[in-house]
Amino acid sequence: MTETIQNDLADLYERTIMERSRKPRHGTRLACFDVSARGDNPMCGDRVEVWVRRDGGRIAEVGFEARGCAISIAAADLMADAAVGLDAAQARSLGERVASLARTGAGEGEDLDPLRPLAGVHSFPSRVKCATLAWHALRAALEGKGEATSE
């Protein structure tokens, strides 16, 4: 592989992504939860199911089960970390900023820092959906819809 290609790929599959995809920290169904939803990417068959436990208006815990590529699993795992402590509006807004990070490779704000490993996706347009699917599912769960798709 040539140098620039390796750089691209190294960005896409950077260390956090590889670790999280191999061994997700939140990759299980929650024993008790308040809401849940499923996200499908019909074009490639990726699927993620999320379970959310709330505490007051805020997200207390997120668990997920995913079938899909390294990116989609790592992205779901990072989401499960980042969502804790947010209310529905905040989660939605963070999800939109993650989508923008994935599309453009850049984004402002400290709260994005733990999610920056996903920035490498921006060089791989057809993989952007892998990075955002879990956020779609989270939003669907919080809005009381059972299903979401990322297209």
Binding site: P42, P125, S126, E151
Partner: protein, 417 residues
């Protein structure tokens, strides 16, 4: 592509440059320079369209949507970007409302099947006009015969204009679910007052579909300004490739409609028990689409926009006026239709010569016109003719070609008298 300066109409120098964009216009037919006056049947293609297709096939081709490799990503981007181009062309509020079909015929059939067989109910009615192309008659007849949905026909005046009062009375019982009507007649050239038709339809609770096959070739279309519910057209009449057409529909309608053709790309998940649909527009695009043709359509749209509808419309209005004036002087020739608001299509008959004989004699002079019923038999019947000859104009048509037509027609008349 030869850009022209922003102008009200096309100068003869503009025309010469534009014509150079269309390779086929340099052809000879029976030893005579081609005078192509059959663009309403299908328009010729500028080099930009041909190049876009060739380029795709030579440099960036693969199947779209599911591919994670470079060729597929490029082809998908190019294919999907045509949706943006079409949305901009007709001022659609949402690119997802643009569905690709084979042609306007399939677009109308899609609505007749998916909307007509689910959202229309027995006892409701569909209104068409007396000057429809078969493509906007027969799908509704099938619906009528299969589902008991009444088919009503809004009459036209002797001048060939839609009778709005009669349309209103057809709507007045509130049973009409859909008005499906041509935006411009392919026989008479008549433009229908689309915004008024839409307002009328909506007042009585009906949706409205415009068959824009001819209309979009000559004038800018704004589906929001018209307040249309569906708008349909074919690529091949708009200087684009064959094999690609468009259906635009309001999102709320498209969302509510069941899928029509089923297969790859239009599903969300499939199991033997239960299958769920993809979101629009994919729900309506089953199987591998006309990828290269969509990309060609985008080039056609860019070509038309670079010239500008204003210049095109002005040019074609000049041509049509010239044609009407010139043909009026030919003895025994009768033009059908004299609508106030008309596009670049002129149908006529001659007293001593049948339309087919006219077409054959013109052809041997290099002049291509269409002859026949123009897929509008019921209209022919109302006009009291079996067939007409039809000359139709495009952005590349010149006044000299219309003079050649007139001279040719004089020879035809000599021949037959």
């Amino acid at each position: 592509m030869n850009l022209i300066a922003p102008a009200q109409t096309l100068t003869s120098a503009d025309l010469t440059r534009l014509r150079a964009d269309f390779p086929i216009l340099a052809e000879k037919v029976h030893g005579r320079p081609l005078v192509f006056l059959d663009s309403a049947a299908s328009a010729q293609k500028p080099r930009a369209v041909i190049d876009a297709m060739v380029n795709t096939m030579e440099h960036a081709y693969a199947n779209v949507h599911r591919g994670l490799h470079w060729m597929s990503e490029r082809a998908t981007e190019a294919y999907e970007s045509t949706r943006d181009a079409v949305a901009a062309l007709i001022n659609a509020p949402d690119r997802h409302e643009i569905v690709f079909t084979r042609n306007v015929t399939e677009s109308i059939n899609l609505v007749a099947h998916s909307y007509g067989r689910s959202l229309l109910k027995p006892g409701q009615a569909v209104v068409i006009s007396a000057m429809e192309h078969h493509s906007n008659i027969v799908p509704w007849q099938l619906l009528r015969d299969e589902r008991g949905i009444e088919l009503r026909v809004a009459p036209i005046s002797d001048a060939g204009e839609l009778d709005l009062a009669a349309l209103e009375s057809l709507l007045s019982d509130g049973k009409v679910g859909l008005v499906s009507i041509t935006h411009m007649s392919n026989v008479l050239g008549t433009y229908v007052p689309a915004a008024r038709v839409a307002a009328l339809a909506h007042r009585y609770g009906a949706k409205v579909l415009f068959d824009g096959a001819q209309a979009i070739v000559h004038r800018a279309i704004d589906v929001q300004a018209l307040d249309a519910d569906f708008y349909a057209f074919s690529g091949h009449k708009l200087y684009g490739p064959t094999g690609i057409g468009v259906l635009w529909g309001r999102r709320a309608l498209l969302d509510a409609m069941p899928p029509f053709l089923a297969g790859g790309d239009m599903i969300s998940t499939v199991s033997y028990e239960r299958t769920t649909w993809a979101d629009i527009p994919h729900k309506f695009e089953a199987g591998t689409p006309a990828i290269v043709e969509a990309i060609g359509l985008k080039a056609a749209i860019a070509y038309v926009q670079a010239i500008g509808y204003e210049a095109i419309a002005a040019h074609e209005a000049t041509l049509t006026d010239h044609a009407l004036a010139t043909l009026a002087e030919i003895k025994g020739l009768m033009v059908l239709g004299r609508a106030q608001d008309r596009g670049g299509v002129v149908s006529f008959t001659m007293d001593c010569a049948h339309a087919h004989d006219i077409a054959t004699l013109l052809d041997r002079q290099g002049i291509a016109v269409r002859a026949g019923h123009h897929c509008a038999e019921p209209l022919m019947h109302q006009l009291g003719v079996d067939s007409t000859a039809r000359a139709s104009f495009a952005l590349y048509t010149t006044p000299e070609e219309i003079d050649a037509l007139a001279a040719g027609l004089r020879r035809v008349r000599e021949f037959f008298t």
